[in-house]
């Protein structure tokens, strides 16, 4: 234990055990170093300073990447590897060149796929079971000692859960949930339409069972409409990310990685429509996209601003993907005051000005333009 006695700050910061203590604060390291500090008060100052130094390094270079993001990447990788195994000759080169492609469209699709995976974060599983909505809700909740809240009024009703989450029930909606959530997950059962503001707790995913879908989130806000069970169920994301799965997949696939590939990820201002008849999940933009709450820049006044910049600003503000040729649109100046219009109106105006058009495709907006150089 006395190996540290002669240590100065320089030695401490380079010592693996010392680093681990500062970085991960594992119990046994904490015990060890606290005891050491008590027994060697002369070194307290050096230790404190070494600690501060390391801490600031760790803080400064900390990187945020989600486990789910990593899972997704690994899954992608394995898919490619498997493809090479099956079709050794042709597929290999093709797959490798795919990721390297400089094409903006394929980059974006990768981005989207990645975002989808991340969705596990705010995984929303909406699953529409059978054709009768009540059946699913009641079959899932029957015989369990849940608390049930109904909105029999004509106005929205706010329910506060024990974890701090807030659910706004629309008229005729009802929700069941345990009085206290278990440590590992938060599960609620919905019938009807409700808006959710889920409090953040990455260790405890929040699951909403509604019709044939399960929506999983870690903390975000979104609306589920499971009132017309027979026809369709929708999930709209106001903020953050949500994953949506068919209940059957959610139930049958235990393996998280495989599960992810079956779900759909929605990010802010996206909407998923699930049709019972076809069991298709279709992704689109919500009807009236709003500027995402956390975004600070709210002015949309442009004077001779390159269209590429304008679109990037809209992308940030609404957190939607807009696909366009950056180089091409750099040459298209836009002068317009766009603060009052909705996103789609803004796009109409911009496209008018630069003689382009746009389409919505798979929850993204694609701008078609020939550029503005004469």
């Amino acid at each position: 234990m006395n190996q540290y006695q002669e240590y100065s700050l320089e030695d401490f910061v380079l010592d693996a055990r010392f680093q681990e203590w500062v970085r991960y604060r594992r119990d046994d390291d904490v015990t060890f170093w606290e005891k050491y500090l008590l027994e060697n008060p002369v070194q307290a100052d050096e230790i404190k300073r070494a600690q501060t130094l390391l801490r600031s390094v760790y803080k400064n270079y900390e990187t945020h990447i989600d486990e789910n993001e990593i899972d997704f990447e690994i899954q992608q990788l394995l898919n490619k590897v498997r493809a090479t195994k099956i079709n050794i000759r042709d597929e290999q080169t093709e797959n490798i060149s795919f990721t390297r492609s400089a094409n903006i469209f394929s980059r974006n699709s990768i981005l989207w796929a990645a975002a989808t995976i991340v969705l596990m974060l705010g995984l929303g599983w909406l699953y529409k079971q059978n054709q009768v909505p009540e059946t699913n809700y009641s079959s899932l909740t029957i015989g369990k000692s849940f608390r049930e809240e109904k909105n029999e009024t004509k106005a929205p009703k706010v329910i506060l859960l024990s974890d701090g989450s807030e659910i706004t029930l629309m008229p005729n909606a009802k929700i069941s949930f345990p009085a206290n959530f278990p440590v590992e997950k938060r599960e609620v059962y919905l019938s009807g339409k409700a808006f959710f503001q889920v409090s953040k707790d990455p260790k405890r995913p929040f699951l909403v069972y509604a019709n044939e879908l399960v929506t999983k989130v870690l903390g975000t806000s979104f609306t589920i409409n499971a009132e017309n069970l027979a026809l369709k169920t929708t999930v709209e994301v106001q903020e953050g990310k949500v994953s949506v799965f068919r209940q059957a997949d959610f139930r049958d696939v235990k393996d998280q990685k495989t599960l992810q590939s079956k779900g759909m990820v929605l990010t802010a201002n996206q909407k998923m429509i699930f049709e019972s008849a076809t069991t298709n999940m279709v992704k689109t933009i919500i009807d009236e996209p709003e500027v995402v709450a956390t975004v600070t820049a709210r002015t949309f006044d442009f004077v001779n601003t390159p269209a590429s910049e304008v679109l990037t600003k809209l992308e940030d503000a609404y957190q939607v993907d807009i696909i366009f040729d950056k180089e091409l649109l750099q040459s298209c100046p836009v002068t317009a005051s766009l603060s009052k219009q909705s996103l789609l109106e803004k796009l109409d105006i911009i496209c008018e000005v630069i003689e382009a058009r746009y389409e919505m495709l798979d929850g993204k907006i694609v701008i078609y333009s020939k550029g503005c150089k004469n």
Partner: protein
């Protein structure tokens, strides 16, 4: 964070399976290194998707070369070094990365303090950390990369020298100097 240099029995089983063409084992290995690689790569380019693409390519190359891969002890720095080279090369090819076409090592947390600061103890004043962070960002890119590889990736000086293609002595000198500079600010 897994420490892949400790190749225990499980690790070497994993590697043998990978070399024999087992894709599940390969996935496990990729997962072990993923966070380190991403965290390192993102210091050179702020484009997360671009970094991920580079890592995908890197692993596909590793897979293609699996039969000729040697000792697992070298893998981490081999991967870090390859990623560094790849990002450098690819970012020169890609015209849309115009905003950061310098090949610079820097923290992606510049000017941000929104990140949940779970690691930070109350006993250390925020102000001191902030000041020190500014100080770190004033270090040369090379100094920053060295302390990153040393403190974050736990590489020894020899491996750092390999990754950065400089001499071991240069690493030792720079590391010492960097710690001194930061220490004076405490």
């Amino acid at each position: 964070m897994p420490n892949p240099t400790n190749s225990n029995q499980d690790d070497s089983d994993l590697w043998n399976a990978f070399r024999a063409g087992d894709d599940v084992a390969f996935g496990e290995i990729a997962r072990q290194y993923y966070r380190s690689l991403f965290s390192y790569g993102i210091k050179f380019s702020k484009d997360r998707e671009f970094v991920k693409d580079c890592i995908q390519d890197l692993f596909m190359e590793l897979w293609a070369k699996r039969e000729t891969i040697g000792d697992t002890g070298f893998v981490k720095f081999y991967l870090l070094k390859s990623l560094r080279r790849k990002i450098h090369r690819e970012s020169q090819k890609q015209p849309w990365l115009t905003e950061d076409d310098d090949f610079d090592f820097e923290s992606e947390n510049l000017g941000e303090n929104s990140i949940e600061q779970q690691i930070i103890d109350i006993e250390t004043s925020e102000a001191m950390l902030k000041m020190l962070n500014q100080q770190i960002n004033l270090l040369t890119k090379r100094q920053q990369e060295i302390i990153y590889l040393r403190f974050f990736e736990n590489l020894d000086n020899e491996s750092i020298a390999q990754v950065m293609s400089i001499s071991k002595q240069a690493v030792a000198n720079l590391l010492y100097r960097t710690i001194q500079e930061l220490k004076d600010r405490l």
